[in-house]
Amino acid sequence: MDNKNLCEAQEVVIRFSGDSGDGMQLTGTLFSDTSALMGNGISTFPDYPAEIRAPQGTVAGVSGFQVHFGARKIDNPGDYCDVLVAMNPAALKANRKWLKKGATVIIDGDSLTEEHVKRAGFETLDPIAELGLEEYNVVIPDITTMTRNALAQTGLDNKSIVKCKNMFALGICFYLFNRPEDHAKSYLQSKFAKKNPAIAEANALAIDAGYNYAANTHQFANTYTVAPAPLEKGTYRTINGNVATAWGFCAASEKSGRPLFCGSYPITPATVILEELAKRKDLGVKTVQAEDEIAGICTAIGAAFAGDLAVTTTSGPGLSLKSEALGLAVMAELPLVVVDVQRGGPSTGLPTKTEQSDLMQALYGRNGECPAAVVAASSPSDCFHYAFTAAKIAMEHMTPVILLSDGFIANGSEAWRIPSMSEYPAIVPPVAESAPEGGFMPYARDEKLARSWAFPGKEGLEHRIGGLEKHALRGCISHDPDNHSRMVRMRAAKVAKIAEYIPRQEVFGDIEGELLVVGWGGTRGHLRSAVEKLRSEGKSVSHTQFNYINPLPTNTAEIFGRFRRIAVCELNEGQFAAYLRQQFPQFVFEQIDKCEGQPFTTAELCDKLNALLK
């Protein structure tokens, strides 16, 4: 180390930003993984455009990756950044609003040309002044030039060399926050080992060059250390929500003994679940990349009929296409998990942005009286738990379950204490093995009101089911009015009964008081941080986050009754609030809604909750 000041920081937010081809997602991931390996709590948020290579140098084409790391468990990726790395003026402009007062801004000096500045839409040729960054610690290294010089001897062509500039920026950040380089280097080594080892070497050199530049320049007065977080004992890894979802299904397959089948069609931001499951042939997973969303769910329904744990994965527009088939699964009473990684809607909407606006569709978006269980995950790592739980409910209660995730938790990652499969409960589906005396009744029910799962191949269990109304016992077609009414109520009662098998709803903070902050799904981290902040200021605020949406936990009304006011916070125009009003007309639900394709910020939540408390 040199003679600079070494300071200790509790938590830091860095935002890496550049053109969508600049490799910002990789840069951010390498930084956050390194921090996680050092024992920090981490949470990340990739924020990228829908286009693969949007017009270069424009604000629309800016891709960002925010890393929040700290000496404690980190609940969310942070609102505002302490350090902004901007690879061009457009990135600077797009992210100006996310700067903490006095933040460090690192911008590639080589990008501050008239052409780039104009393309980013600045009115003057001095973006720093135009954005009012005089009070900020702005550092303008010529990242492209220095990368070029550092790699001059590699023999690579200019284009390949310039592509390494993101690693130069990473090197600067490694120096500033005293991070080791070895994880990033070994990752690059394995990534390019087969394709082009020279590229791995060049990237490693660029990291060194960035690191050495930062050490030698006088523009960084301080460097920082962030102590490891006092996390629970155990073995940890980083994980993002989509991979966690895929792995949760693998776990449910192992625990139930039913092979895992996934029929899906690629759609942003859900595709990674299908990609991950396609890799998991090592665990016996079968995947079908179907010809469309409908075939995705229909192949899954076929696999469920044949005895597999069947899942299909999608996002909002795909859920629309799957609606009819979902009704078939409700009618046939087959286990099925439909994952909806929600994005901005309606229609194609905002494919890469997050939202919670598919709730009503998940609850009600089908013809007829068509109840399905709905479960929502609330952080990248707990996608594992809720995927497992959704599959458990589906199989044990013989019903389709919609698992709601969202773009924010699906792409975000965090440190996760790896559970042991021995900690997870058994899954015992009601599989029929042989026909009872008097013949097999496909729609006879157990204590959960679940019918038995009798798949083809089992002697004496030959039976016919389908989408026409079923006779309440025999499962054959019935047009009888009384039977229909009975079956409509039976299907609803079966889903309602799940409430007896799920955990009670918990409250963070006091169990009674002035204000209860209610959230569901992926907003948990931001809501928790906001409530913690208000509580630290002595306010009577508690938080409850719902993961079981249909049915709701049995103690829900009891909790609501203990607070004077209830604020439902969600990333839509009040869908969960409307649902709660329908379920619990005795309470008043106030709303804090946001529908911008962005997660909440802790700061805006605090402002709005404070306004309610006044």
Partner: protein, 343 residues
């Protein structure tokens, strides 16, 4: 090989058959119930492994009448659901009962992709050139100009010929029969079941209520069929007619009907049917033959071996990856890649 000695009665369910009296579907049901005992013995398949999947339409009620596992799904999706069944459990013998509306209109996409993947399904395509269950609207196989409730002045859209569609999508098996030819239908279905890959048996079926006699001009009775259809059999000369004297020759890249012994044509000039030829050209021409210019081709028109059968290939790939992988359980998976420990 187990001999099951099933009879057609072993495949009859307790459900009352509710198709209209005189509907061609009765004959198809009869043919299928005769075919399955043969399939069971030929391929060593016990009844518990037969699974029928259908979509929506008159044809799709089929599954209720079979004493097998059955799944009556939603309109157009039978091929997709059946793909899931077969991939999940390739040991099952999976059959699809579907119609011209179900598989060629609303389910057209699933139909061609199931063909492309060569999933080992046996499709029975009931082609009555009409929507029956919705009471008489034109279908994608209705003849141009057909007057129906939704085309009171005649259709202005050309029909699909299912055979051309299947072979055009590089289908590996296509056969055609007529509802009244129960034994021929049975023969085609048994061959389709033996075929490893996607098989389509189109059955020209009469809808007595909404499209009566649509196939009658060439298939109305035995004598008409003898003159206006040709039953193709692999390795045999393409001969037809009451006395088997008419035959097909290929001239100027076109099929032509000739009479043996007339205009200088001898039996040696007549084409010999090769259902196993990979090239689709002649099979397409045979499937496309139309009355009155040509006889309508029946029998197994195309049956070619294709090494990649989807459901088996998925299973094999899983087996290979499993054998080579260090990850053997979910605990292994969770600990794969970079981890760190907090003491």
């Amino acid at each position: 090989m187990t001999q099951y000695n099933y009879t057609p009665a072993d495949f009859k369910s307790d459900q009352e058959v509710r198709w209209c009296p005189g509907c061609g579907d009765h004959a198809i049901l009869n043919a299928v119930q005769r075919a399955l005992p043969e399939v069971a013995d030929a391929l060593d398949i016990p009844r518990r492994k037969f699974t029928f999947v259908s979509g929506i339409g008159c044809s799709s009620r089929f599954i209720y009448y079979m004493k097998t596992f059955g799944f009556h799904t939603i309109h157009g999706r039978a091929n997709a659901v059946a793909t899931g069944v077969k991939v999940a459990n390739p040991d099952l013998s999976v059959w699809v009962a579907t119609g011209d509306g179900d598989s060629l209109a609303i389910g057209g996409n699933h139909f061609i992709h199931a063909i492309r993947r060569n999933v080992d399904l046996n499709v029975i395509l009931f082609n009555n050139e009409i929507y029956g269950l919705t009471k008489g609207q034109y279908s994608p196989t209705s003849k141009l100009g057909k007057i129906t409730k939704t085309s009171p002045y005649g259709t202005v859209e050309k029909p699909f010929n299912p055979g051309e569609l299947v072979i055009g999508a590089k289908g590996t098996f296509f056969a055609r029969s007529v509802d009244m030819e129960v034994m021929l239908t049975k023969e085609c279905l048994v061959e389709g079941a033996k075929h490893k890959g996607f098989s389509v048996t189109e059955v020209l079926q009469n809808c007595v209520i909404f499209n009566d006699k649509t196939h009658a001009l060439f298939a109305g009775d035995k004598a008409t069929r003898a003159e206006h259809t040709i039953t193709l059999r692999h390795g045999q000369k393409m001969l037809f007619g009451k006395d088997n004297t008419k035959g097909l020759v290929l001239e100027n890249m076109k099929l032509k009907v000739v009479t043996v012994g007339e205009d200088g044509y001898t039996i040696d000039d007549i084409l010999t049917h090769d259902a196993r030829e990979q090239d689709t050209t002649l099979h397409t021409m045979l499937a496309a033959m139309k009355y009155p210019e040509c006889p309508v081709a029946l029998g197994v028109i195309r049956s070619v071996a294709e090494p990649t059968v989807y459901d088996r290939a998925v299973e094999e790939q899983v087996g290979q990856v499993k054998a080579a992988s260090k990850i053997r359980c979910v605990d292994d998976l969770l600990h794969s890649g970079e981890t760190w420990t907090i003491e």
